[in-house]
């Protein structure tokens, strides 16, 4: 039983990391109906920003909340800038094109970042020295937890609430929702559409930057292709939860994490990746809009 609960805790830890990335996917989709495949590579860039910032300022010599927050802020700002440029130069020129063109461009941007990253950072994995010591493990009835797991879970839930707040309670959030219904009508109401879309991208990319740092804190090996599988899983999580729905993304991610953890614990590790896509297929068959998604009939 203890083992089962430990698997559950491990799974929630893994799921909360998927959640951090899934939040960005789902928000951009919710506002723009665009699957931003480059999102998982912005997450990779986030980890590398953190790596170089921490190397430059020797942050890992003084691990603690201060260093972690410094790296987090630098990486979120860096990623927001990258997000702005990706939107400005890759997606905005295609705003009026069919959606498939934008989708293919997203794949292109993703590949560009992955292999450009290999060129720039080198293809060999880097070791990201921890910015926060895991500290003494916390035991709760034989189940083991550590500070980092709690922080990651806490941060992803906090970001989820913050996103809900921004989208539903602020002026810019109202503008984002308006743009998501209709670009033209929003523009007629005096909403600066370009600005709102840029803001959405920057917000999503900042989330990816935070995810990069927090994932690297747990798995201190980073490489330019680290976003591929992890990002794909996070994307599946967003779809499972109902893409476009912020709470759904977190729920989907936690389900994915726990399911993976259980499969490895009780079956075999080789089913790990297959499982993610099996869940996706099942959800698409029985609940095409995802767990929390609303089924919207598209008019032809």
């Amino acid at each position: 039983m203890t083992e089962f609960i430990q698997h559950l805790v491990n799974g929630l830890g893994l799921g909360s990391m998927y959640a951090l990335i899934a939040l960005g996917y789902t928000m951009v989709f919710g506002i723009l109906q665009l699957i931003n495949f480059a999102h998982s590579d912005v997450y990779m860039l986030g980890a590398f920003f953190g790596y170089y910032v921490s190397k430059f300022f020797n942050l890992s010599l003084h691990p603690g909340y201060g260093s972690l927050s410094a790296a987090l802020i630098c990486s979120m700002v860096g990623c927001a800038i990258v997000g702005f440029f990706i939107e400005r130069f890759a997606y905005r020129p295609l705003r009026k094109s069919p959606r498939i063109n934008v989708l293919i461009t997203a794949v292109g941007v993703s590949l560009f970042l992955e292999f450009g990253g290999q060129l720039l950072f080198g293809a060999d994995p880097k070791y990201f020295a921890p910015l926060l010591e895991a500290g003494e493990p916390i035991f709760i009835g034989g189940v083991q937890l550590n500070r980092i797991q709690l922080i990651v879970l806490g941060v992803s839930l906090a970001l989820m609430l913050a996103l809900q707040f921004i989208i539903f309670k602020t002026k810019i959030g109202r503008a984002m929702r308006a743009v998501s219904y209709s670009h033209t009508n929003a523009a007629l109401m005096g909403i600066p559409v370009d600005f709102v879309i840029s803001f959405t991208f920057m917000l999503g990319s900042a989330l990816a930057g935070a995810a990069g740092i927090l994932v690297a804190l747990t798995y201190p090996k980073i490489d330019p292709l680290m976003g591929m599988m992890f990002g794909l899983k996070a994307f599946v999580a967003a779809v499972v939860g109902g893409i476009g729905n912020v709470t759904g993304a977190v729920i989907g991610a936690l389900i994915m994490g726990v399911a993976e953890s259980m499969v490895i614990g009780y079956l075999a590790s080789t089913y790990r990746d297959a499982l993610a896509f099996a869940i996706l297929i099942i959800i698409l068959l029985f609940r095409p809009a995802g767990i929390l998604g609303k089924n919207v009939k598209e008019k032809v």
Binding site: N10, G122, D124, Q144, K221, M226, I264, G265
Partner: protein, 388 residues
């Protein structure tokens, strides 16, 4: 998709290695070749990038050290040696492409590489088919040289390495219950785990659980949680250093305080960089230890340090040995043709290489001793030497 390729490929390889219990699996259909110009061109395939990048880099440095020495002494039969080195990113499919390119475009006379057995297994059939001698410095999986009579190695093989670690665990560490955590995407890891289990259970030990992961994974907590539930006295992790470092770290986080054990795939300074303190008290088997006080080893270390300003790891020493053995065979061969070089390689007897005296046996493997290394506070400490 890549996983699927790998699965099909390894299935093919398995069939190949089963079929060819008698005689070579792959027949020589190519013409081989001979040295025509005034230099000897040798190809090298290694993982200069990717998750096993230090393997390729160390091996390359070792090879180049040997080449400099050979060329400074006037070359082989008056001809200078030139190495063409290609990166395979640690991927079998890239290794196969690189081998084909070296043979067909660069017209190399022999090939050195790879470290990873999965990559060598992808290269060997191509070298064999074209009749080009291939010497792998440190692929320890037995299947590699079984591909054909043009494939050689200068290191020991996994049945030996596995039994060394099993005996060490049972006799020296007095362990009875051991867990296995193997990399199922890696021929080396699968083979080594099997040979460890074979010897360990024969001695009377028990394997309490056999878990697996895939190269490139970063999360091993679920496997380790299952292992923890079985209360092993040690965990045998025959993987490569990147994953092993992360495994060690996560094992500590889960409160697993038993030693980890592994093979020569651990040999990299990156291992302790990633794993840190979590690896203290763990053991692995290797080809050589820099603490070995023999004259040959110490001279090699001094030369290597002068050239690259760092202590060579085992793979650098093996790279140097592979080149030295190949050069020795070329010197002894009556003429510089692939056929004559192959024969001379097969005839190698008691050659005094860096990591020991090497004799190539009838299966084209080297018979030599292994060392066991203990990790203490991020340092590799020589523990004991075990002869075959």
């Amino acid at each position: 998709m890549r996983a699927l390729h790998l699965a099909i490929f390894s299935a093919l390889l398995l069939t190949v290695s089963c079929l060819k219990k008698e005689g070579p699996a792959v027949n020589v259909t190519g013409a081989g070749g001979s040295v025509t110009g005034d230099e000897i061109v040798i190809g090298e395939v290694g993982s200069m990038t990717g998750g096993a990048a230090t393997f390729g880099k160390s091996t390359h440095d070792g090879i180049m050290l040997a080449v400099e020495k050979i060329n400074a002494a006037g070359g082989i039969k008056g001809k200078k040696v030139r190495i063409i080195s290609l990166d395979d990113q640690g991927k079998p499919e890239e290794a196969a492409i690189a081998t084909t390119k070296l043979i067909t475009q660069d017209k190399v006379i022999a090939i050195l590489g790879e470290v990873a057995s999965s990559n060598s297994l992808a290269m060997a059939p191509i070298a064999q088919k074209n009749g080009i001698p291939m010497v792998t410095p440190s692929s320890t999986n037995p299947k590699v040289t079984e591909i054909g009579d043009y494939v050689f190695r200068v290191c020991f093989i996994d049945p030996f390495q596995g039994s060394v670690m099993a005996k060490f665990a049972y006799n020296s560490l007095k362990l009875k219950n051991v867990a296995i955590l193997r990399d199922v995407k890696n021929d080396y890891s699968i083979g080594l785990a099997d040979f460890f289990i074979e010897t360990f259970t024969k001695l009377g030990g028990k394997i309490v659980v056999d878990q697996s992961f895939s190269q490139g994974d970063v999360d091993f907590k679920s496997q380790l949680t299952s292992i923890k539930g079985k209360n092993p006295e040690a965990i045998f992790v025959p993987g490569y250093y990147t994953e092993v470092g992360l495994i060690a770290r996560q094992a500590k986080e889960l409160g697993i305080n038993v030693p980890l054990m592994g093979g020569d795939g651990w040999d990299s300074e990156k291992l302790t960089e990633i794993g840190g303190e979590a690896l203290t008290g763990s053991y692995f088997s290797n080809h050589y230890s820099p603490d070995d006080m023999s004259e040959g080893v110490q001279k090699f270390i001094a030369d290597f340090k002068a050239a690259y300003n760092r202590i060579p790891d085992g793979l650098a020493a093996m790279g140097c040995d592979a080149m030295l053995i190949l050069a020795d065979a070329m010197t002894r061969a009556p003429e510089l043709t692939t056929v004559a070089i192959r024969q001379a390689l097969a005839d190698t007897k008691a050659y005094p290489a860096v990591t020991g005296v090497i004799t190539i046996n009838a299966k084209r493997d080297a018979e030599k001793s292994a060392v066991i290394i203990e990790i203490k506070n991020g340092k590799f400490i020589f523990k004991e030497k075990i002869d075959p």
